[in-house]
Symmetry: C2
Subunit: 427 residues, 2 copies
């Protein structure tokens, strides 16, 4: 614990420097990093090879191994990603509100970095570069904990990050720190006084463990149980196309479809066509009513709570939109849910009553994504309701402060009635 | 635990009704409540008297007893407070952003209520009325836990709230629930799946206990250790007036001054005048340098970490603004800190480098308050950085959701390059 406290104290001190660092200086670090990664491709690949050999020896799962492997193309992607971050506008120092409270007494609400971010990520070493650059761009310091399966790669990349920072300004050289031992996760979760936000990047189990074991705010999502509801007023062609896209376009991700709800009036027409469209590629698990129409595996209650992240789909037939809304508000992970209908009034009601971070009408759940929403970067997806919800851009690393400037104003004058507030918006 | 889960499930169900309830219906509940409180003054005072007698018998502290007592004036204040809430604009359903992602594919960011708020309050029964009306106005359901010292009063007031809700619309009658036993706090802190935000209203110890013992987001502040820094370029008259106001105008509150930092160049001129101004009303505890100038009690390190909430002030003499900033970032509770200086550049640097929710220049820390900031209502003050920071108005009870409406749009078309996004802001 002593070791981690020394590290986080140094991060905290550096964060006070970063708070008031100007955009140029922050951008220079990212520019340096682009240069250093480009110049050290060989070394990065050599270190990465060490992790891969070790991973193979230790029989790492093929999924993790695949995420771990870097090649020249992936390094190109890293560099392109850094250029994108470099070109983003600085989110700090924006005047979000300006109010005159009384003559000469001005209140401003200003965007400022959160301070210290705790990042815990597994396997993918490119995540280290991406999240570090997003933190630097937004003026946040960070304590980074990578997975031990990427130890050599992370140490190499982190060395380049430190060099890029030090070359730009030694004053905030402590602003990013890499933790390496597994026990340090547990310790990190206790650092309420130092860490303002924890961002977990990894398996659902990791996220759930972190959410349950810290009182530090966590930005993330464990499950992505997304629904599409096919209303009785749906255009059947559109329903087929949206369902296929939401389920099949990329089934491994959190905004993919898991449970399809179909209105009983269109089920007999829609379901056989869906089976034909899937052409045997998707395993379907249906409730009793579905089983009467198409040949499927029986769905159990557990299916409504399962994120398959695979080409598996559960289907339930509902009597009404009300029943669909109840099902979704009960079983959804509050990530993304969509309705297909030509009835605009019903669509409005669905969008308003579904309690999820993204709600959609006549389009695929797969659109719920920071880049597709136009945020320029995706810091993560949050199913929490406080702070940031849904796909989160750089804004998720920011908070605000109030600045009040006066000319010797005192509250006593307002309490005695000598002066009155005249709140007036100035922007 | 079973009992509380039944209650919170009923609150959660009702919250799904409230999400899409229109402004008129929500306002009608508040109108009904105004009427019922006005009509039942006698009953309220009778029940309150029972709590007072019990409190006296059980030797409740004078401070708590004072907060507990209602009279006709306090009931007038309750009614006026309700009228203010009635007149606030509805914070739900606001379009915060609108972006065209592509032709016919529109993204909107809409303000929506958080869902279920957990409120834990001590002593003051008027808090029950205030927080309930703020929750209703913003469309939030709530689980309310009052102190046992106000049991009779709370039951009476809560009866009126229930009557006001039921008269308006039976569909969301379960939206507010009152918990009564002490053990229920512990159970409430485990209800992550149901409660979106906890608001504690009570002693620092209560707030600290709650912050440390739940992974549900908490909006509140434990300590209010606020600073004023008197710079060497300060106007001495202004410095005296701001210091007196910040310390003496209402010393029991969280935005009152606790530690004064004085630049060594003006200490000899300023401090004797301050002593004269305080006229023996304020106990001063000073560091060694201060002790050489004025006759004071010696301050220990513990003083820098203490919220006196009383007419006590600790003073430290600093060599530079840098030292003042370091002291504040180390010991402040990040609530409110102020600088008095005529040097605008130094003021800007102070405001930018101090990591507190409100930072001030040439005015009293006592201005940090939702009403003074013009928010119309104060839900609380937060020293957390995520979600809401500083004085928090109705906005603190809101989150947002993304609505995407399309015409059958699928992600596959964008992945294959058949279509391109053309993000364009529409508002």
């Amino acid at each position: 614990m002593e070791n981690i406290i020394r590290q986080v104290e140094s991060v905290k001190q550096a964060s006070y420097q970063l708070i008031s660092t100007d955009t140029d200086k922050k951008n220079r670090v990212i520019q340096n990093l682009i240069q250093f990664i480009d110049e050290n491709r060989e070394q990065i690949l050599t270190e990465n090879k060490k992790d891969i050999v070790k991973g193979e020896q230790e029989k790492l799962s093929p999924v993790l191994l695949k995420r771990l492997i870097l090649d020249d193309n992936k390094i190109n992607d890293m560099v392109e990603g850094l250029k994108d971050v470099l070109n983003l506008p600085d989110p700090a120092g924006k005047v979000l509100a300006k109010v005159s409270l009384d003559e000469g007494l001005i209140l401003e609400k200003i965007s400022v970095p959160l301070g210290v971010i705790g990042v815990i990520f597994e396997s993918r070493p490119d995540a280290l570069i991406q999240i570090s650059s997003l933190c630097l761009k937004s003026g946040n310091a960070a304590l980074l904990k990578g997975g031990k399966e990427a130890l050599f790669t992370n140490q190499c990349l982190f060395g380049l990050i430190k060099k890029a920072i030090t070359k730009s300004d030694a004053a905030f050289k402590g602003c990013l720190q890499l933790l390496e031992s597994r026990e340090e996760i547990k310790e990190m979760l206790k650092l309420n006084e130092y860490i303002d936000l924890i961002i977990p990047r990894g398996s659902n189990d990791l996220v759930r463990y972190i959410q349950k074991n810290t009182s530090i705010p966590v930005m993330g999502h464990a499950d992505g149980i997304c629904h599409v509801y096919i209303d009785d007023s749906a255009d059947i062609e559109m329903a087929l196309s949206v369902t296929e896209d939401a389920k099949c376009q990329y089934p491994a991700v959190c905004n993919a479809l898991e449970t399809l709800l179909v209105h009983e009036k269109v089920a007999e027409q829609f379901l056989p066509q869906l089976v034909e469209k899937f052409n045997g590629q998707v395993e379907i698990r249906g409730d009793q009513a579905t089983q009467k129409i198409i040949h499927v595996i029986a769905a159990t209650d557990a299916d409504w709570k399962t994120e398959y992240t695979d080409l598996i789909l559960s289907i339930r037939i509902v009597e009404s939109m009300d029943q669909a809304i109840d099902h979704i508000n009960t079983f959804s992970s509050h990530h993304t849910d969509s309705i297909v209908t030509d009835d605009k009034k019903k669509a409005e009601e669905f969008l308003s009553r579904i309690d999820s971070s993204s709600v959609m009408h006549n389009c695929s759940t797969r659109f719920a994504d920071g880049f597709r929403y136009g945020f320029g970067a995706e810091v993560g997806v949050s199913t929490s309701k406080v702070h940031a919800r849904g796909p989160v851009g750089l804004q998720g690393l920011m908070t605000y402060k109030y600045k009040v400037t006066g000319g010797g104003h005192i509250v006593s004058d307002y309490a005695t009635g000598k002066k009155q507030f005249n709140h007036q918006d100035l922007i």
